[in-house]
């Protein structure tokens, strides 16, 4: 009974140590984990003209907007959230850029 309790306390202590340790590890240098869970990149995403937008985007929702080489482009935040999105690899004119959220 006592042994089991000791083991539990030790487990908790180790767990706590790991949590604290990882929190500190995050402060300084970035240390990547061994396994990579990278998602597929988004390239060649579809775009439409403002005049073609019907119900995809509502007036009061937020967009991320950029003007590059005189061309304007908007990315509705509601299309950028979640781990399968977050980065759109894009280009306009001769500028290669990434819209990120």
């Amino acid at each position: 009974m006592k042994k089991a309790l000791c083991a539990q306390v030790l487990c908790l202590a180790v767990l706590f140590g790991c949590l604290v340790g990882s929190a500190f590890a995050q402060r300084g240098e970035f240390v990547p984990p061994a396994k990579s869970g990278a998602r597929k990149p988004i390239v060649d995403a579809p775009f439409v003209k403002a005049s073609e937008v019907t119900d995809q985007v509502t007036d009061n929702e937020l967009v991320l907007g950029v003007v590059i080489e005189g061309q304007a482009r908007a990315y509705p935040i509601n299309m950028l959230t979640g781990p399968s999105r977050e980065i759109i690899n894009d280009q306009m004119g001769r500028t290669n850029f990434a819209a990120t959220w």
């Binding site: 995050q26 402060r27 240098e29 970035f30 240390v31 990547p32 984990p33 990579s36 869970g37 990278a38 998602r39 597929k40 990149p41 988004i42 390239v43 995403a45 579809p46 775009f47 439409v48 003209k49 403002a50 937008v53 995809q56 985007v57 509502t58 007036d59 009061n60 929702e61 937020l62 967009v63 991320l64 907007g65 950029v66 003007v67 590059i68 061309q71 304007a72 482009r73 908007a74 990315y75 509705p76 935040i77 509601n78 299309m79 950028l80 959230t81 979640g82 781990p83 399968s84 999105r85 977050e86 980065i87 759109i88 690899n89 500028t95 290669n96 850029f97 990434a98 819209a99 990120t100």
Partner: protein, 216 residues
């Protein structure tokens, strides 16, 4: 919003599946280097230490963006969230407008921007103008130096701002003088990012929060 040409290579970024300081870590497929989204900097791998050029981007309502840029194109993917924007309106203190002046970090929450929508700032000797337009929810950072003078601004009617030196009227989101002696002149935009306040302060513990109206 970042440029993605580094050392003559165009990089393709993907979500790495990792987080650092509760924030997105990106991976480039060309070198498998890992990049911090908030810092715009490579934190691991062959390109470690490289920085991505930051592009000037804005966050505002679709209606305001479309009015400002009638010829805009717009991303056309399915929705990944239903109404992310709602929190931006109901909990503006959770969102921050962050920027760097001579290596020092500054931020203002959108709650402060709503309270003080026209701020003349002097930060590290740089004369800056921070504006917020409640109609479009756009925040902007400009230089107050124009040619040989330094301007100071006050809020005026119809959402415009007026400079105290010449009395010209300016559009506060575009930084363009629309009436008066300086009509047609444009202030220089300064880059800034919109992010969650807790993420900004986690990355930049020393960031100075801009709280209220300061004297120019």
């Amino acid at each position: 919003m970042y440029g993605r040409d580094v050392q003559g290579k165009t990089l393709t970024f993907a979500v790495s599946g990792q987080l650092w300081n509760a924030s997105l870590v990106m991976i480039d497929l060309e070198t498998r280097s890992l990049w911090s989204h908030i810092l715009g900097e490579c934190v691991h791998g062959p390109l470690k230490g490289e920085k991505l050029p930051q592009l000037i981007a804005d966050t505002m309502t679709w209606k305001a963006w479309r009015n400002e840029h009638p010829d805009t194109t717009v991303l056309n993917l399915s929705r990944s969230s239903k109404d992310y924007g709602a929190e931006f309106y109901t909990k503006p203190e959770r969102f921050a407008y962050g920027f760097v002046v001579d290596g020092k970090h500054f931020h203002a929450t959108f709650a402060t921007l709503r309270e003080s929508p026209v701020q003349n700032l002097t930060l590290n000797g740089q004369r800056l103008l921070l504006t917020f337009d409640p109609e479009s929810t756009a925040a902007r950072l400009f230089s107050r130096r124009l040619d040989d003078r330094v301007l100071a601004f006050v809020a005026a009617d119809n959402g415009l701002i007026r400079d105290e030196q010449t009395g010209s009227m300016w559009n506060r989101t575009r930084g363009i003088a629309v009436a008066g002696p300086l009509k047609g002149k444009q202030l220089d935009h300064e880059p800034a990012i919109i992010t969650l306040t807790r993420k900004w302060t986690l990355f930049h513990e020393d960031s100075t929060e801009i709280l209220e109206k300061q004297q120019p």
